[in-house]
Every structure is written in structure tokens, then in C-alpha cells.
Subunit: 477 residues, 4 copies
Amino acid sequence: MRTREDYFESLCRMGKNIYLGGDVVGRDDPNLRPGMNTVGITFDAQDDHDFANLMFAQSHLTGETVNRFTHVHRSSDDLLKKQKMTRLLCQRCGGCIQRCMGIDAVNALAAVTYACDQDRGTDYHQRFEAFLGDFQSKNIVGCCAQSDVKGHRRKRPHQQTDPDLYLRIVERKKDGIVVRGAKAHNTMAPYAEEIIAIPTRFLTTEEGDWAVAFAVPGDAKGVKLLTRTTQVRERVPELDAPVTQFGAADSMTVFDDVFVPNERVFLCGETEYGGQLALLFALFHRHSYTGCKPAVTDIMMGAAALVAEYNGIEGSTHVRDKLAEMVSVAELTYAAGVAAAVESTAHPSGTYIPNVVYCNAGRRHAGMNIYHEYEILCDLAGGLPATLPYDTEFVSEEVGELLKKYLKRTDDISPEDQYRCFRLISDMTVSALGGVLQYAGVHGGGSPVMENIAIMGTYDIEAKKNLVKRLAGIESG
Amino acid sequence: MRTREDYFESLCRMGKNIYLGGDVVGRDDPNLRPGMNTVGITFDAQDDHDFANLMFAQSHLTGETVNRFTHVHRSSDDLLKKQKMTRLLCQRCGGCIQRCMGIDAVNALAAVTYACDQDRGTDYHQRFEAFLGDFQSKNIVGCCAQSDVKGHRRKRPHQQTDPDLYLRIVERKKDGIVVRGAKAHNTMAPYAEEIIAIPTRFLTTEEGDWAVAFAVPGDAKGVKLLTRTTQVRERVPELDAPVTQFGAADSMTVFDDVFVPNERVFLCGETEYGGQLALLFALFHRHSYTGCKPAVTDIMMGAAALVAEYNGIEGSTHVRDKLAEMVSVAELTYAAGVAAAVESTAHPSGTYIPNVVYCNAGRRHAGMNIYHEYEILCDLAGGLPATLPYDTEFVSEEVGELLKKYLKRTDDISPEDQYRCFRLISDMTVSALGGVLQYAGVHGGGSPVMENIAIMGTYDIEAKKNLVKRLAGIESG
Amino acid sequence: MRTREDYFESLCRMGKNIYLGGDVVGRDDPNLRPGMNTVGITFDAQDDHDFANLMFAQSHLTGETVNRFTHVHRSSDDLLKKQKMTRLLCQRCGGCIQRCMGIDAVNALAAVTYACDQDRGTDYHQRFEAFLGDFQSKNIVGCCAQSDVKGHRRKRPHQQTDPDLYLRIVERKKDGIVVRGAKAHNTMAPYAEEIIAIPTRFLTTEEGDWAVAFAVPGDAKGVKLLTRTTQVRERVPELDAPVTQFGAADSMTVFDDVFVPNERVFLCGETEYGGQLALLFALFHRHSYTGCKPAVTDIMMGAAALVAEYNGIEGSTHVRDKLAEMVSVAELTYAAGVAAAVESTAHPSGTYIPNVVYCNAGRRHAGMNIYHEYEILCDLAGGLPATLPYDTEFVSEEVGELLKKYLKRTDDISPEDQYRCFRLISDMTVSALGGVLQYAGVHGGGSPVMENIAIMGTYDIEAKKNLVKRLAGIESG
Amino acid sequence: MRTREDYFESLCRMGKNIYLGGDVVGRDDPNLRPGMNTVGITFDAQDDHDFANLMFAQSHLTGETVNRFTHVHRSSDDLLKKQKMTRLLCQRCGGCIQRCMGIDAVNALAAVTYACDQDRGTDYHQRFEAFLGDFQSKNIVGCCAQSDVKGHRRKRPHQQTDPDLYLRIVERKKDGIVVRGAKAHNTMAPYAEEIIAIPTRFLTTEEGDWAVAFAVPGDAKGVKLLTRTTQVRERVPELDAPVTQFGAADSMTVFDDVFVPNERVFLCGETEYGGQLALLFALFHRHSYTGCKPAVTDIMMGAAALVAEYNGIEGSTHVRDKLAEMVSVAELTYAAGVAAAVESTAHPSGTYIPNVVYCNAGRRHAGMNIYHEYEILCDLAGGLPATLPYDTEFVSEEVGELLKKYLKRTDDISPEDQYRCFRLISDMTVSALGGVLQYAGVHGGGSPVMENIAIMGTYDIEAKKNLVKRLAGIESG
């Protein structure tokens, strides 16, 4: 099975199409390294006994053992394991492990290409399985390009002044198609080997050109990645820490007339299935969130508990109550994912689909609480993370000892540990990274309002009205 | 299996020890009927196909089929079924089904009597199983008397000026014990056949007299039930509705020197097991809440959805968002119960114990949201439930037609249905019943602060701190 | 100045048009007495030194000293005094003092009749001043009938299937008009001497028949009051308390072809001024709420603080924080009223108009928090208010001593005081009255969403956008 | 009156004692410029007609016109004007104007030095007035160093292992004192001309060495400023904007055996007045917050309204409701400041003291809502602020046009304005600055829990309990 090193080497062989800071750079640019390190954990864990049961799955195509990030879920147990794996990996990097993007897209395609073929006599599923075989055997890192830039928010794709504001087919050739458009918020695209593109919304019958799904290499001709990276502030070597290794990158991924060969085209005009893909990817992705969001909270509550201890207030009832609040956010979100797996159903394709209401209720709960969790951490930390002198002063010959003297709180915690604790919290909360995590908490994978729509579109609220009508003696309706 | 009728007859044969409104009455008092009807549903459901898989279980003592309300859980599946059964039954009566009190006490005793016997060589488990055999074969309705009146809140039982403020053994005889004290908030005691008493808190070694558990008939000599009943306001016959049949009663249950024969004594001085009983009953009971609280929310959301429809605002986004909020409260609470069952463990006695963190996180979530749910229902209903003219005016010759004329909203909903809808909501929210449900939502089975204590007493917060220390490069500790 | 006795006598002389419990009764019906007692406080306070500066004002018509509940505000100071008076009076009865309904309507009429006359050459203001002179000199109790029953919520008044679903003029005679319709949620109408009717919303030009304002005696021919009363549960004499004296009544006030003589007609077809009246009454009324809502919170926080003391937890930090939360609700709401008075403006009629944004922000804040306040009180009280045995048991020969024994907590608080405290809280929160206060908190005087509309209709949000544009370097727009 | 240029020049003449990024730098370091620009606004406004009534006050010492940032409040109106001035200035820079630190310290000293002299026969007030005369006539920029580093949180100053963990007198000389210690979170100290130090808490009688207040020049011998700066990310010139000019700096201000001459010592051992100074500075500062926090919300709501417009959702009801929420936060906080001024009292020294409850309720309300405001802005902005490509790509020859094409939403808003809007929000919320504002919102000037303590220490909660006792018929107590 490919390793982290293989993955990094593969990336470095790719063409230069990363637009970053005014330059065009390749995957060897140091700004991308933190994000690559994060994804690298999903390879390292292959050799980590703590993960043994979780990182591997048996391919339903070949029976071979594959990295679970390339696996199509074939049981409730697969979904439970994916959720648990996600939580443990995210605990390692202290945030989003990112690689679920690809596998969630793959699972959506596994179901929808099958359904389309059954109804329409197309051969997308066969193409998809060929792609998947390669994806699994090579342990490929894929991302999912879904969110179109969308232009005018109250107009449909075909109503836009510029039709390219949703990614679309601009030419259909014998051997493939040419696509144009741009996908926003495209996490990890700069270090994905494959970009899997799917529609972002329901499509009407006149929107066949926008009903397109495909996979292309990350450096395919015409693909341009306008990139933004996020990582914590650099440190002096004496105070370096594992957290500085990790990070992320997002891109606005422009498809500037990109040719996609037929064998990589998984949907091409069947509008009904475009909407299905959009929904089903979102559903798998929200199930992923029931694993990663609890991990984000695990880190937040760990930091809150640690700083409470360092502040000498760990025994206060208000601290206990605030930590219990964070535990509840994490565990209710996680419980929703468990219930979604327990109540999952088998799709005709054999793919297991998690329960819609529980996935969405779990994702929604995390999204509703993310700012409140930052508030709790800030509350327990006190003001120091916002005003902490820099590490350069901590190691300064002139004022280092003064800073250590005045950081001191209790005898059993060294000034360096004090500094490391507050510095980590500063990095987590008084930083661009903190802002990114707040936005990701609200909007990543669909904001609470999207989950409200998904829940209310599925939930049998009429049954609940009928319970009430019966109690009230209302017979009509 | 005994039926509702058998149960009612049994009650009516019991002695008069219900103190209500200045009188001493028997179980045939009409004020108790609504509560009895609620418990009656647990008998009726035995013959209801909708419940077939849920209402019955196989006794681990005899292999016989028994009503699940007398069953000791022997698997995760038992816990899942109990949770689901509870939700469906509570949907029927629009609130607390009450009978879980007894079965939760039985399950706690099943584990703790076994553990005590193993460690101390007592024979409580044998006594308990003899009691249980009867309880199951006769389909007995039991309640659980737990909350002592507690006197001075900052003093322990043995420190109280009056030692009776926690129920205690005042005399130990050859053939049994004499107990004195009072249990508060004793739901359904007035129509329970058996009262099962257990301690309310951890006990210190000097508190052996307070470490007592037993079962006595509801009309045992010296048992005095100071009773308060709750039901909706009466209606004129033309506007009667199923909701008026149901209700509840609570009592302050006074044990005024009650003799308990040895075979009914399940703990008598072993303080360590007193605390275990208190905790374990609370745990089973909080798992019950993951079934009943979602049902309470089901009724609230059904009423909210119905009144939104009647108010013509069912299509508004704010209505959708508020209903989604209620769905999330119900389903996250329920999901926590599912996860608690999935993660349950087998006690050495064979009894299955649900996961502590999930039970408590679920109960806590319901408790934190109950007032907010009432707020949403009030918000969507508008002011009418608080100012609705009485049913007597609706059927009045003089002004009935005027009232109907002015209640009219849309042509497809009759004034009577309008009235029935707003009247039900008025009964649910502008009434003593509404207040009782609010208090039960916060305090029943332990308030959110009790769940915080239970969660933080169990949760591995150190593991979360260690995740953070690793990221921060903190090696100590 | 008329006294409480004069007022009661005046009521008892009125005709019977109260429809209550299937009967037609007069103002001497004992069910109305609690509401009358509440309004009676506004008379008693005339002789109470604590209120001396507040209860009286100098009539701008005559220069005479009048009860402030009949006064038209002529300065910021008048508004400050009205707010303070309202708070103190509401503290006395533990809830809504009710009489502001009339004076808020009077103030709205004082401004709008003037404006209409100026623009349209009508003589409403003269009629109004004649009415006002009488209202002041006789110290009359008036109510305001505003909320129409409204029928289909998405249709305008003139679009309803039944045009009477908004109160309207059905006939215009030489000496007056005939009106038909019904006003809902009409607080205190059953013991108001005068009913002042005004429109409930903006009106379009084709809705002249609905643009009507007038005053009629509460027992005018054709006025039918379908009444609902609210008061706390009766008590045995030994445990009676001042709280049982107070209460309220609401009516659906039906105008079944009521003739209004011209001198009592204050608007008759001028649609533009109908909307103004609706808005301006709401504004004055929301300013009243900045006085009464803090008083409701005063009582809630007093009860919370008292029960915390009786529960022995008054020193806990969570109690301190929850009380501080209640103080903040009360005082921010009150501060908004102060700012509204400080920033008030003089209307051309001489009437002082409080600031729209502050009045609405204050009322909104109270409305957003009412359920949370009940939650805090419930939290601190524990479950006892919901399960407290009845007063009949407290005084029972058989079980009274047992109940006293087991209610006992600390030596310095007698069982009777314990009972009185929990009984009061039970009366406040586990009762129809509690429900009414919750609904009134949300919807009375306009729900938070109405305040959002009022705020955003007035607030200069463009100015705030411009601040941001400047910082961002955006020049357009 | 001195101008911005005078102030900058004065700073540049100061000695180098800024420790920043491993270097010792002077006030001409470009990293300090954004903070200096912010304070510079308080000079520029002297010539701005919009501020004319607000920026100037009449010195009670000399009768001269002085900048209000050097003025001692002598009336309610002074407090109202200070609050309004603060709001308008903060709107200019989009955040904290910083200079209130000094004037709040000056006002606290004006009262407490007087009181101490009256009681103890000291001459601090005379010294203070001499200092103030200079401060006013030279229009000096001062900061306040209050928060000690505090060491072990559960130990008092004199109990610390290292007594320097609270700033203290280490030597008393004839002509002055020597002080040692460090003050944390010292906003604007790096560009303050004078540092005014006061105690951070109540002091016991054995803590005379810690009861010290004084003023020293920012570059006094032994003063070392361990500095951290905050400003938005740099931009390419084509996209520069006013927001990039502003920023802040905080320091841990170390007093490494600093000599203070007697005429600059304002408290020296009188422990009782140390606590008074701490409290009174906090009170004036919380009143300042009722001006600046509404301005922070003004900017947040302006950004939210602007991005809602740019996203094409400005007409949605949920947007209206969220903006109304922000307006309410701003205006209730502001109203609390107005009420605090209206209810202010004259101190014997002639200084006007704002009302404690309203100042604290206002500051608390802002602090409780700051994270929620960020949540709303994030919600309305969508994910783009977190993933927005850099400005270097916007102006890139290769991909600039593609980025503009895909940023386009509606025809009336240019891609550049779109970019500017989202970039500003990104700078505000996905940045260290955003984190600093969140922490400042919670902890700056005292966190909500400090306000709870202040409120409950002042509020007459017994009066509220008595209201309830009367209603309940409880006579005791």
C-alpha cells in the first residue's frame, strides 16, 4: 500500500498550476507542506496499531485490503468504522483530516452512477468502477470539487448572465468533453492527486450542460488552483511543537476549458442524477462530520481543561459545567452519526446510505455550537492568548528571564509549559486558523440552514401532527 | 397477562391511604382516573399490533413472555426496544407514561443485589428474584420512591437535626424492619401496586440506617400518600377529546413507621451499595428519558406544525427552522439513547447497563431545551391559547355562533377544529399541566447539573488534555 | 379624584354583557374581582406616599392634577415617570397592572387625531379632547381594543371572505356610525369603563371602512365580552396570601352592530391615519412594557433569590450568575425605556413620542428572555413547586403535622414559610397564570418579530454599511 | 492643542524599550504605526466638525478647553458625551480607539486621591492635580497598567512564592519609590506617553506594598514593553483600503525596579484605597465600553448588512432578524450607558460616577454576545471569507481576469467591490485581529463573570425578595 512518501513524491511530479502569492508554484512549495502533512497522517496510520481495525477495509471490487479512504461502504459497520477512524485521525492533527472529501464523493458516485445506468442504460457505473479499481489499488488521494461560485444567488444556473458561473460542458467530443467553470472553497485540491467534480444543486431539465461529474488529475491541462493556505504562525526552534506541522489549503479551482476523456466522465447531461449526486455527497459528507466535528471539540475541550488546570480553576463548578457542555456537543454529534449508521439502508448498488435525519441533526448540532465552543475556551483561558508576548521574547537574552518570571503561576508547571499552553490556544483562537475553523464549523459541508432543509424535507412531520390531532379530537385532514 | 381492567380492579381493592384535598380516598377517586388511564395504555398496547415486538420480552427467570415493563434487560437490543417502546407509548398519552419508574428500579436492583451478595454474602438477589417472579407473572405496576425530602441541603443524612428527613431504618426485627421517612416527587405512587424504595444518594459508612431498599404494597400500613393530581381542564361534552382522559399524580409518600418483612428487603445497611443503587436507577431512568422526552417533543412539534398550518404560516422559513430545531432536540436525544444501547455493557449479574455518557448527554440535552420548546410553540401559536374563550361559550346559544364566526380563518378548517387545536395547545401550555411538564423536563430524573456531574465523573477528559499536550509539545504530566 | 370604591361601584352599575362559563354576568361576578383588584391598585396608590410624585400629573387641558393613567405625556420627564410608575405598580400585584392599555391608546389618539385634522381638516382632535377632559376629570378606566381576529392571515382586511374579520364601519348615519367585528386578546375589557377601539394594522386606500377609531362604554349595546379569567388557585384561609387577590381577564370583544355617536368617533375612513394609530399605540405600549416587564422580572428574581435561600444554595456562584442574568434582563429592558424617554421627540400636537428603536429593543429583549427566566426560576426552585401537596393537607388534622415535619429544611425557616414560598412559586409557574404570563411575555404588545420589523423599519442600517464601505475602500453605492 | 503630528514626534523622541520579534525598537518601528494611527484619530477629530461638541471639554482646573480624553467628568452630560464620542471614534477605526484607558484611570484617580487625602491627610490629590494640569494642557496620551500577572490564582498578592507577581514597592526613598512587577494585557502602552499604574484588586491590610499608584513616562528607566502587535494582513497597493492603517499593540509591561519620584506617586501603602482605585477604574472603563462595544457592533452589523446585499439575500426575513439582533446588542448596550449617565452621582471630589448596575449590565450584555455576533456575520457571509484567494491573484496577469470573472455576482456590483467586501470581512473574522476582538469582547475591561460580581454586589436583591414575601404572606425575615 502506498505510503506518505509515495504520496509526497507523486505530488512533486505533478505540473505547476498552483497560483499562490502572485506566483505559479508546484506541490513542493513549502506553503503547501502543512496541508500535505495533515493528509499524510492517513498514510502513517496504516502502520499504527491504534488504527489497525479502522484504516483498512476489504474492497468489494477485488476483495483486496484497501485504505478505508478509498472504500465504498458496504455495511452499517463500515459507516461506524469510518466515523470512528475520522474522529481519531482528526484528533491527531487537531482539525480537519481533509481526505474524506474524496471518499465521500466516491461513495456518492458508487450509488448514483449505478442508479442512472439502471434507468437510462448509460455505462457510468462501469467507468466508475474502473476508476475506483485504480483509486483503491494505488491508494489515491482525491478531493471533491462541488461548490460552484454561483454568481447571482437568486438565479438558476441557466439564468446567469455568464453561464460559466456554474461548471458546465462547453463542448462534447467523441472521446470526451470540455468543461468550463470554477469551484469555490475547494479544500485540499492543491495536494489532491485527483479532483472529482460533481454538481452543487438540483438541476432542471434545461440544465443538462450543468449535469456533469468527472475526475481529472489535479494538474490536468486548464486546471488552475487559486490557492490560500492556512497554518499556525512560525515559531523559534526552541518552542516548536507538532501543531506547527499541520495546516490546510483551499483553492478556487478554475476549469479553464478542461478536456475530460470519456472514461473519466461519470455524468453527462442526466439532470435528475445531478441533483442526486449533490445530495448524496452532502449526506456522506455530513456523516463524516459526525466524526470530525467531535474531534475538533475534543481538542477544544482538551485545551479548555488544560488551561483551566494551568489557571488553577479546574475544580470550579462553572468549569465543570462548561466542559460538560463541550462533551455534550461532541458526544451528541457523535451519537447522531452512530444512530445514522445503525439506521442506514442498503442502496440497490450495494452502497450503504446513512440515515438522513440523524446525519443532518448531528452536523447541525456541531454547526450551531462552534462559536459557543470558542467562547468557552476564550472564557476559561482568560485574555492571555490575545496578548501573549512572542516566542522571540521568550528566548531573548535580554528579556527572556523576565518573561519566564512573570509567566510563572504554580510551582509544578514550568514557564515553558505555561507558554506552550497559551501559545497553542493563541494559535487555535487568535489566528487566521481559528477563523477558518469557525467558518468551517458553520459552513463546511453545509450550514445549519441546509441541514434544516434536509431534515424537514425528509422528516415525517405529518405523523407528528396526526398524533396531536388524535389527542385533540380533530378528525379531518 | 393481566389487562387494564385487572389492574384497575386490583387498585380498587386497595386500602384508602390517598390524602387529597383534605380527604382520605381510595383508588376509585375520580381525580386519580386520568393517571390510571395513562398507565392503562401499557396494558392496552399488549393487544396492539403496532407494539407487538416491543411490549413483550422473554423473562430471564422463567423463559415466559412478560410485559416489557417487568423485564430485566439482557442485551443491547432489550435497551433499544425499551427506548422505542417508551417513545411510542408516550406519544399515545401525549406525555409521561410513568410506568418506567418501576422497571428502572427493578433493573437497578437486579444488578446491585447481585453485586452486594457476591461481595458481602448477603441473600438480597435471591429475595429480589422471588419478588421479580411475582412482579413479572402478575404484570405488576410498580413505582420507585427515591427522592428523600432532604431537609437541610448542605447537611448529610446523619447530620440532619431530624434524622427522618432521609428515609431510614428505625427498628430491625427478626422478621423484618421498620422504616420511617418521606419520599418527595413520587410520580404515580397513588396508582402503583408496589412501591419500590431505594436511597437517593451516596452514603457514608456511618449511614447504614439510611442504606435501605425494599418493596411494599402501595397501601401497606403506615404508608400515607399526600397527593397532587394533574390533568387538563374539563370540557363540555361536545368538545371532549382523548387528551382529557390522561393525567398524572404525584405524592409525598410518607413512611410512618412501616414494617417491611425480610423477603421484601433488598438492602439493609450496606452503605456502599446504597450509592450504587441510587446511581444505577438514575442511569436506567435517564435512558428511559431518551425515549420519553423525544415523545414529549414529538407532541410539541406536532402541535407547533399544526397550529402553524392553522395560522397559515406553515410555509415560512422561520417555521421550518423552528420545527427543525424541535426535530433536532427530539432526535439528538433519541440518538444518544441509541448510542447508549449500542455501547452498553453486561453487568456480572447479566443485566445490561447503558453507557453513562450517552444517557446523560441525551437527558441533559432534553432538559436544556424544554423551555425553549415551549417558547417555540408559544411563538408559532400566537396569543390565542392564553385568551381563548371557554368551551361553554363555544356551545352557548347566545354567543356560540359569534365565536365560531370570529374564530374562522380559512375555508378548509372548521371553527370547531380551530377551537380544538387552540384549546389543546392552551391545555398543554396555559395550565398547571404545562408547568408540570416544564418542571419534569428540567428536573425529572435529574436536572442538567446532575447530568454534568455524571458526565464529568465518567468522561476521560485527561485523554483529551493529552491530545492537546502532544500538539503543544508539552511533555510533563 | 375617584377612588377604588368609586370605580368598583361604577362597574357594578353597568349592564350585563360578560359571557363567562356559559352565563351572562355583570361586573359583580366574583371571577372578575381579582382583575378589578389589580386595577384597583392604581387608585390606592393615589394615597400612597411611595408613589406621590409618580401617580399624579398636570393635565395639559385644564392644568388640574390628574391620575397619570389619564395623562397625555408632554415631556421626557412624563415618559420617565410613567415608566417608573408602571414598574412600581406592577411590583405590587406581581404582574401586569393592565391600566396602561387605556392611557397608551389615549396618547396615540392625542397625536394622530391632531395630525389628521391638520392634513384633512377633520375635527377629531376636538372630539378627542372633549372625551379626554371627561376621562381625566372622572379618572376613568379605559382599555384598548386593537387586535382584530384577522381571519385568513395572508389576506388583507378587504380580501377576507367575511369582511367582519377586521372591525369595520357597516353603516354611516348622521349622528354616528355602526361598527361590526371582534377584537381578540382584549385584556381588562370586562372591567374597563370605556373601550377604546383602534385599527390593528396599516390600511390600503380601499380599506376606509376599516379605518375606524372610537370609544364606547364597556356595556354599550351590542358589545359582548366573551371572557376568560386568570387567577391563582384558591387556598384554605389559614394559608391565604395577598397574591390570591389579584388576577386578570381577557375577552374576545364582539361588536355586534354597535352604534357609536359622532362625538365618540375619532377616525372614520382616513386610512393613512389608521396605520399611524396602530403603530403609535404599539409604540407607547412598548414603552409601557419597559416598565412592566422589569417588574415581572423583579418578582421572578425575588422568588428565585428567596427559594435559593430557602434551599440553602444562596451562596453558590451559579445562583449568583443566574440572578445576575435576571437583573440584566430587567435593567437592560428598563434602560432601554430610559433611553427612549431621553431620546423622545415632541410631536406637533405637543405629545411626547418615545424613541422607536429603544422602545422596541427593550420590549424585544424582555420577550426574548421570558421563557429563560421561567427556566431559571424552575432550576433554582427544584421540582417541589410541581409536586407540592395541597394546602388542604397542610392544615389536615391527620397528615398536617407529617407534612410540616417533612417540609422542614433549616431551623430558621418555619414549615409554613417554606410552604408559602413554594406555593407562591407553584402558583406563578405551575398554573394557567404562569402560562398566561409566558404568552404575554412573548406576544403581549407585539412579539419579538414585530419589534424586529419596527427596529429595521427605522434604524439607519445604511449608515452602518457606509462605515464599512469606507473602511473597505468601496466607493460606489 | 497638540496634533497627531506632535504626538507622533513626541513618541519618536522616546527611548527604545519596545521588545518585539527579538529586537529592541523605538516608537518609529513600522509595526507600531497602525496602533499609533488609531490613537491619531483622537487628534484628527479635534478638527472635524462632526465631533465639535464632543471632542472638547472645559477643564475644571483651569477653565481651558481641553481634549475630552484628558477631562475629568463633572456632570451627567460629560458622561453622555464621553460615551457618544467613544462610539463615533471607534466607528472610524472599526474597533477599539484605545485612548480611553488613560482617561478612565485619570477619573478614578481624581476621585480616590481626594477621598484618601480627606481621610488620611495625605497629599495625593494635589500631586494628581499637578499631573493633570500638564496632562490636559499638553494633550497627553496615557495608558493604564492595571492587570497584574497574578501568579497563582488562588493566592493573594502577599501569599505568592514570588512577591513580584503583583506590582509592588520594593524600596521607599526620600524623593520617591522603586517599584517592581509586571502588568499584562497592557493595551497601547507601546505608544502611550505616560503609563498610569494602579492596583488590580482589593488589598488586605498586610498588603501595603502592593497598594501603589503612579504615573511614569512610557520609556522610564527600567520599563520594558514586551510587545505584540495586531493589524490586518498587508495588501497589494491596488487593493489597499483605510482598514489597513489601523491596528493595536499590547504589551506585558515589566517594571524592572523603576524609580518613581514622589510627585508622580498617587498612592503608596493605603490599602483600602487600592481596592477603590481598582473598582473605580473598572467602572469608568465599563462605561467606556458602553460606547465602544456598540461601535464594534456597528461595524459588524454594517459588514453583515453589506455582505447580505452583495449575496443578494438582503430582503430575507432571517437576515432582517439577524440584523435586528445585532442592532439590539448595540443599542441595549448603549442604552445601559445612557441610563448609567442619567443615574450618575457626584462624588465628593466633584467627579461624576456612573451608575454601577447599568455600566455593568451594559458591558456584560456586550460580552455575552460578541461570539454570537461573529457567528451571525459568518452565517450571512457564507464560506468565502475563509477561502478567498489572495489579492496577489486578484491583480495577477495570469489569473486575475479569471478570478474577477468568477467573483462576479450581480451586474451592479463590480468584482473589485465584491473582493473588497469579502476581503474586509476576512480581515475582520479570519485573522489574528478577529481573535483579538473576540477576546477583547469577552475579557476586555472585565469579563461577564466580573460584571455579575459587580452587579450582585450592588443590587438590592433583598428588596426584590421582600416584594415576593409580601405577595406570599411571609412575614418573617
